[in-house]
């Protein structure tokens, strides 16, 4: 891959995404909704001062469950808009090497989500500090730091999963339906299945149930899958989506 080609592609994708109507609003929505829901759940889960059985860090970060939906919108629209307007044909004429286009889109999108995610996650933790009585989760604590960094990476991986899905199915509404289905249906089905072995298996493969284990800071032995391994499961889902997207981009006409 020529470095120059990649640099042009990155510049082009950055310009497209930066100037697309709605990108700024969606980034603001990711932050606002994540923090708002984190604060609401934390306020609802607030326990009497002193004895607190809740995982304070995880509760403070629960807004990620809502924020990820907006991240998915951002990612799907990053490519979906091109398909619905026919822009994709111009993109591929200007940049015939599809792997570069896909890689550039993934990099630019990851960068944006990394920034939005970091702000959301840190602001959520701050909100948690204001709402919950002490002792507060501190970033100096290794597991809290892991939960924080992991939550940002979780959002980036959700963006990549959504991007891959959107390219693979080419229709934005269907793509978001598939992504949200993958995320939200696993936990609901897990609750309906009472068999403990099945529950555990489903928790280990569901992108959201496995990925969000990275937020756990207490009761680590009770987790269905280790925190980083859980994030690895989500990374596998995202990689699979991007891989099939790359393959289909090569095989299909735009």
């Amino acid at each position: 891959m020529r470095p120059a080609g990649m640099r042009y592609a990155l510049h082009a994708e950055w310009t497209k995404l930066r100037t697309a109507p709605g990108t700024v609003w969606l980034v603001l929505a990711v932050i606002a909704l994540t923090v708002a829901m984190s604060a609401a759940v934390t306020a609802a889960a607030r326990c009497p001062a002193g004895g607190c059985a809740v995982d304070a860090a995880r509760t403070s970060l629960s807004g990620v469950e809502l924020g990820q939906a907006v991240v998915a919108i951002l990612a799907v629209l990053a490519i979906g808009g091109e398909y619905s307007t026919g822009m994709i044909r111009i993109t591929l004429t200007a940049m015939p090497r599809r792997t570069i286009v896909l890689a550039a889109k993934a990099v630019v999108l990851s960068g944006i989500v990394l920034v939005a995610g970091t702000i959301s996650v840190l602001a959520s933790l701050l909100a948690g500090r204001l709402i919950l009585p002490g002792p507060h989760p501190s970033l100096e604590d290794g597991s809290v730091l892991r939960a924080t960094v992991g939550s940002v990476l979780y959002l980036v991986l959700i963006a990549l999963l959504s991007l891959g899905t959107a390219i693979a199915v080419r229709d934005p509404a269907t793509a978001i339906g598939i992504v949200l289905g993958l995320l939200y249906l696993f936990p609901i089905v897990i609750h309906a299945v009472s068999d403990p072995d099945w529950q555990r298996h489903l928790e280990q493969v569901g992108p959201m149930s496995a990925g969000l284990t990275v937020q756990a800071t207490t009761h680590l032995s009770g987790l269905p899958i280790g925190p980083w391994a859980g994030l690895g499961v989500l990374a596998t889902w995202a990689a699979a989506a991007l891989l099939s997207a790359g393959l289909l981009l090569h095989l299909r006409d735009a």
């Binding site: 709605g22 759940v41 609802a44 889960a45 059985a53 809740v54 995982d55 995880r58 509760t59 629960s62 469950e65 809502l66 939906a69 907006v70 998915a72 919108i73 799907v76 629209l77 979906g80 619905s84 229709d171 934005p172 509404a173 269907t174 793509a175 978001i176 339906g177 949200l180 289905g181 939200y184 249906l185 936990p187 609901i188 089905v189 609750h191 309906a192 299945v193 009472s194 068999d195 099945w198 969000l212 009761h219």
Partner: protein, 518 residues
């Protein structure tokens, strides 16, 4: 393009009902000629059936020979009941009565380990009972003191009348009296044995001439909810209650000379807490029992599951339908078809109404087919896997099927309206899924019970209440949470919340459709 409202023209052919029918037909043609949408609907029905008919649960009922068959006794009202208690009885021939004084009610609760600790569950019961024989599920009327609900008069499992509040002790005992006169059994309570107040009268139709009567004690399953973020668990186990009764006086004909002690519905492999018994003391008895005389409930405090379990695929079907419903309107914008549509029929409110009618009808029929198959065949699959499924009336089953179909139809209309409002399929699909599915998900996973119940009262997810299949009984302590199939609103009230949201969104959509250029 000129502004919409200023250029509204009358249609030159067909007005009123006829014109609307033509619009509906046009929209139906648009729908069924798009292969992807039809496939989406078939997929929605398929996933509802697939998830409903895949077992996913394993039970032990009937899996290890005839002894392992799970069966619950059936009460006089036809409902499944729990009927396990220690019964100290003598036959009572004809009319008569029994009076006792209860001086203490104590109990034992399970701990998270193997041990026990002293304590009473709120619905621990001890008192006197008149029952149509010793068959489990037979008719009865009883007056009792309880762990935390004062004096109660109960009959035929589902009826419960409150008497004087407060617990019992040697210092403040409670006198109880039960009298039979024909089919009527009346319960009385007193704090001194002289001044009596009637608590209630039960009519037990067809009570035989000779009944069994005497003191009883029982104590239901103990449940404690453990709230942790993103996982709500329960600790549950049997509990035990012991009551001391004296001053036993009998009226009427009591042919047998001695008292017989029974553990009605005793467990074959009982844990120490589940063993009961009685001792005769000077002028009275000490009765120990475990179990309950109450309607049987699914979930933590009971056995098995309900038919609601089979409808889990509704969520997956809902997402597919939301996608199709949103595209039904946003595709017009993407392809510019909306301009043709508006030229052919400039009255915008009616176009949106026609679209809503078509999408609602299609999703209703699809949902009806999916839910009907699951409700009819799903319980059989679960039972074949050894899971006990509570019986439901045909009326409830019809409500479940029609309610699920209606839920999907109104959700699709909500998605359609959101699609019109934001005109971007991706955002509309996400908004619809986030307001309908996410509150339910939060309610069953992360949130404390109070917040969860609040969410399921005001968000569109309240509509899943139409899928509740067993009633909530105030006289049975159970974990009445959404994850166990219990919703804070009545079935159709919950559905009405979704309807209100859909109406609001549709109103906004019509308003914006009229004011905006296409």
């Amino acid at each position: 393009m000129t502004a919409g409202t200023s250029t509204v023209e009358r249609e030159d052919t067909g007005t009123g009902r006829d014109g609307f029918a033509r619009l509906v037909r046009a929209e139906w043609t648009k729908f069924h000629t798009v292969r992807g949408w039809v496939i989406g609907m078939v997929a929605a029905a398929g996933v509802i059936m697939g998830l409903g008919l895949s077992p996913g649960r394993q039970g032990s009922c009937g899996q290890n020979g005839p002894d392992s068959v799970c069966a619950l006794p059936v009460g006089p009202g036809g409902q499944e009941v729990t009927d396990n208690f220690t019964f100290v009885r003598r036959p009572l021939a004809g009319d008569g009565g029994i009076t006792v004084r209860v001086t203490s009610l104590t109990g034992l609760l399970p701990t998270s380990g193997e041990g026990t600790r002293p304590g009473l569950v709120p619905w621990a019961k001890a008192g006197i009972i008149i029952k149509d024989g010793t068959r489990r599920g037979s008719a009865y009327a009883a007056i009792m003191v309880t762990g935390a609900h004062g004096v109660r008069m109960q009959d035929d499992y589902t009826h419960d009348t409150a008497g004087p509040p407060g617990g019992v002790s040697v210092a403040s005992p409670r006198w109880l009296r039960l009298t039979r006169s024909g089919d009527d059994v009346s319960g009385y309570a007193s704090s001194d044995g002289t001044h009596w107040a009637r608590v209630g009268t039960a009519r037990l139709a067809g009570l035989p001439a000779t009944v069994q009567a005497g003191p009883f004690a029982t104590s239901p399953q103990y449940t404690q909810v453990i709230n942790q973020p993103l996982s709500t668990g329960e600790v549950s186990g049997p509990s035990q209650a012991t009551a001391a009764l004296d001053h036993v006086t009998l009226q009427g004909a009591w042919p047998a000379a001695t008292w017989t002690g029974d553990e009605t519905g005793a467990f074959s492999n009982a844990s120490p807490l589940q063993r009961g018994g009685f001792q005769q003391t000077a002028g009275g008895f000490t009765v120990t029992g475990s179990g309950d005389i109450a309607p049987a409930v699914p979930g933590a405090a009971g056995l098995g599951t309900t038919i609601t379990q089979t409808l889990v695929g509704t969520f997956a079907g809902l997402i597919a339908m939301v996608v199709v419903a949103t595209m039904f309107i946003t595709a017009e914008y993407r392809r510019g078809l909306v301009r043709t549509t508006l030229t052919a029929s400039p009255r915008r409110g009616r176009i949106l109404a026609a679209k809503a009618v078509v999408i609602a009808a299609v999703t209703f029929v699809t949902g009806l087919a999916g839910a009907a198959v699951v409700v009819v065949f799903g319980p059989g699959v679960l039972r074949a896997n050894g899971v006990y499924v509570h019986a439901t009336t045909t009326f409830t089953e019809v409500r479940l099927v029609v309610g699920t179909a209606a839920l999907l139809a109104v959700a699709a209309v909500l998605a359609l309206a959101l699609g019109m409002v934001v005109r971007r399929g991706v955002i509309a699909v996400t908004a619809a899924v986030v307001v309908i599915v996410l509150p339910y998900l939060l309610a069953i996973t992360g949130l404390p019970t109070g917040a969860a119940r609040w969410l399921l009262r005001i968000t569109p997810a309240s509509a899943f209440a139409v899928q509740q299949s067993t009633p909530q009984y105030s006289q049975v302590d159970n974990v009445y949470t959404p994850v166990n199939g219990y919703f804070p609103l009545a079935p159709w009230a919950g559905f009405a919340v979704l309807c209100a949201w859909a109406a609001l969104a549709l109103g906004l959509a019509v308003l914006l459709f009229r004011r905006r250029d296409a």
